[in-house]
Amino acid sequence: MEEKIAQIAVTTFTVNNLWMMVSTFLVFIMHLGFATLESGFTQSKNTVNVLFKNVMVVAIGLLTYTLVGFGLMYPGTDFAGQVFAFGGFGLSLPANGITDAYNPGYTYWTDFLFQAMFAATAATIISGAVAERVKLEAFLIFSVIYVAICYPITGYWKWGGGWLNTMTTPFYDFAGSTLVHSVGGWGALAGIILLGPRIGKYVNGKAHPIPGHSMPLAVIGTFLLWLGWFGFNGGSVLSANPGSVSLVLVTTSLAASAGAAGAFFTSFFISKKHDLGMALNGILGGLVAITAGADQMGVTDAILVGLIGGVLVVLAVIFFDKLQLDDPVGALSVHLVNGVWGTLAVGLFGAKAGSAQIVSQLIGISAIGAFSFAFAFILFFVLKATMGIRVSEKEELEGLDKYEHGMSAYEFGELSA
């Protein structure tokens, strides 16, 4: 009898942990989403390169996060309220790491893996923005350091219990509009500035489109990212709590849908065509925007946040083109702009809305933005000064696949020849 009652706690723990594992799988599949989206939105002569970056970033990101990142981001409760802390290298199973004494929602291992899948996302966001011209080795080194050091530090500020979390009105970022997406977005901005645009992108100050090579890949990517977001946001509840998780899934889906609608109408208004690329970016914009407050919004809030996100994506794409910031896949518009918007929206809509919260949100956005932009800028700058970050003109024109990889993404010769 006693034993049976003890089983209740175990079973509850098992359910929560199961949900967190499922969320981990969903976040994992976002990496395939990024790989397909980014390769679909870029040229076929660079497809192997884009895919290679996305594959290696996951692998290297996981290993790096194992070695350093996890210890930096979650140093433990002894380090609350600080700016920097480190819990040690590598992983070591704490006492009770596999029972609910560690956390009522998940084991130490689940915790690590869920967080590690998140971490690799930030680097992957950058990979799209610098695509078609960045040197592979330079990018991989950048990713390792960014995932190992920058992302965990700002992550610690909030999720690890650092200073942003211990302010009077704590900064709020439910699942990472700022901590993940903007951090990726600021890194992307630094990279774009230091790399410069692709050859031929801006001629006499006018943007000259370089269409992506495969819309089916882009659509596969977007759907997989939406799917993955169920785990990204839903898993951020950190337990299988039925009410909280299912609300988060609803707000996430409605924001994505509203984002599509917002981008659909805005882009049709601007170009009189039904722009598939913008609709896809609109979905992603809505998803990024809802991420900061997915558990705080009602149905109408979520739709509004997503709708505005979708409109913002379209305007931002055009705006960045005006500034000649060449972003092949729209990473800035999706992750940076909507990361900021979504974080701010927590102060404007939903349960936490209020002026104190707005101030806290602005503090968080600025502090994390400043730190991660500066970090990325310096890191890219050092790489540029030393090994170089951009491929040769010849390589860029003939395609990175040929020179860096010695292969083509497609061989249809046999087929149609």
Partner: protein, 112 residues
């Protein structure tokens, strides 16, 4: 013997093919090409930027003919590839010195 090369709208290809078959022209090759030229303005859009497509998709046909058949083939192509809008394409005639059929190795100056 002559080689007739025609660059036409891809959307008119099926109709031209039927017309050629009707006048017993059953052998030819075709392949897709990009045409640069005066065309019905086609606006493309990519990520919010509207631009004029700098090239359009056309189909090129190559037909080997005895000299006396050239006339009617050109007629058939023009009649069937025409929409009347700018961009309908071109047909040209070249001289071929001689032709060999791979299967038999037989050569001909007039066509097979």
């Amino acid at each position: 013997m002559k080689k007739v090369e025609a660059v036409i709208r891809s959307s008119k290809f099926e109709q031209v093919k039927q017309a050629l078959h009707e006048i017993e022209v059953n052998f030819f090759i075709y392949y897709p090409v990009h045409g640069v030229g005066n065309t019905d303005s086609e606006t493309s859009v990519w990520r919010g930027v509207t631009y004029a497509a700098e090239s359009i998709r056309r189909t090129k046909l190559e037909i080997l003919l005895q000299d006396q058949n050239v006339e009617k083939v050109i007629q058939a192509i023009c009649d069937n590839a025409r929409t009347g809008d700018v961009g309908d394409g071109k047909v040209l005639v070249e001289n071929v010195e001689y032709l060999i059929r791979v299967r038999t190795g037989e050569a001909s100056h007039e066509g097979l």
